[in-house]
Amino acid sequence: MSAYIKALVLGVREAFRGRITEHLSSAVSNGFARGVPILESSKCLGCGLCSRVCPPRAIKMRPAGRKVVGGREVPREEPSFDYFRCIYCGQCADVCPAKAITMDRRSPVDVVNITAPQVLILGAAPQVASFLVIAALVALVYWLSGKLAPRGRHGPSAREPFSGGVPMSSSRYRYYAVSLMAFVLFLLLAEALCFLYLLASPNAQAFAVLLLAALVIYLQGLWVSRRWAG
């Protein structure tokens, strides 16, 4: 019985005590951490002591311009920090004779860009990657067919792909508007289907389907242009 009373008292007491859960937006950096080493270039002597003393060898001396020593110009070196190898011990800041390294007392995730190295076009979300790839391919197709289209009688080079070499002019625009529209609509439809497919299963097969769709779009474009030309 006393155990139940104790538990009850404990529960009531805890209900009135403040919560210990931290707010999500609050202190990732609370100002007490040793922090991130940041270089102040103007004070650096280029002595290399920080690099020699760094436990995980995260500091490498890189050439950084020239400086004047004793009336002559000599190459100057500066430390470059690999923040993914750094153990945030602060030894570099301790030994620097010129106090050129300060410890920014925030947490590494606030100072270092933790996702930048990984954001490549192919590392991006499949939907975005596929959209960009399709756009690039279509632009390529557009440019290529412009180069490959037969030269028109009126000019040395074709100016408008899928047109059989007739240069674009505002008076004749209405003749190829319809097939162009059909081409664009088909393109949009194909892209929409690919998007839906990628949403459902983002993997290599879906990507292959995208490329296939781009090819089909090109062929459709050719067919449209032939029909128009013919």
Binding site: I20, T21, E22, H23, L24, S25, A27, V28, A33, P55, P56, R57, D82, Y83, F84, R85, C86, I87, Y88, C89, S107, P108, V109, V112, I114, T115, P117, Q118, V119, G123, A124, A125, P126, L199, S201, P202, N203
Partner: protein, 142 residues
Amino acid sequence: MIPRLGYRRRSIWLYHFNSGGCNGCDIEFVAALTPRYDPERLGVQLVPSPRHADVLVVTGPVTSVVKDALEEIYDQIPEPKLVIAFGTCACSGGIFSECYNTIGGADHVIPVDVKIPGCPARPSSLLRVLAEVYGVKVRGKA
């Protein structure tokens, strides 16, 4: 951060992989599951099987013996997945990068999406990353 988990980002299930670390990041990872950081408000849970997981959290420099295990476990996690390298050793091998039995960071073995530096990485950094994956604007109200 790109929310590549789609709608699954509202219920992130973590699988923890210790690839031979000193335990510092492992303990900080376990501390990130405790009431002070409370990841369950984001729907985050630690799961015992890679088949149930969405996010793989790797700690420690990869030693030569666990390299194959890491690859297999990565393959077992179904798409879409995210890999978080938690701690300096998982990012790049850290202070053990020249030791004879370590390979280096986790990105020598599997593709890594987020690298959280720190020795050990703070539990609040993991919460910050998970909140971004979830879609919460961390600098505003949570």
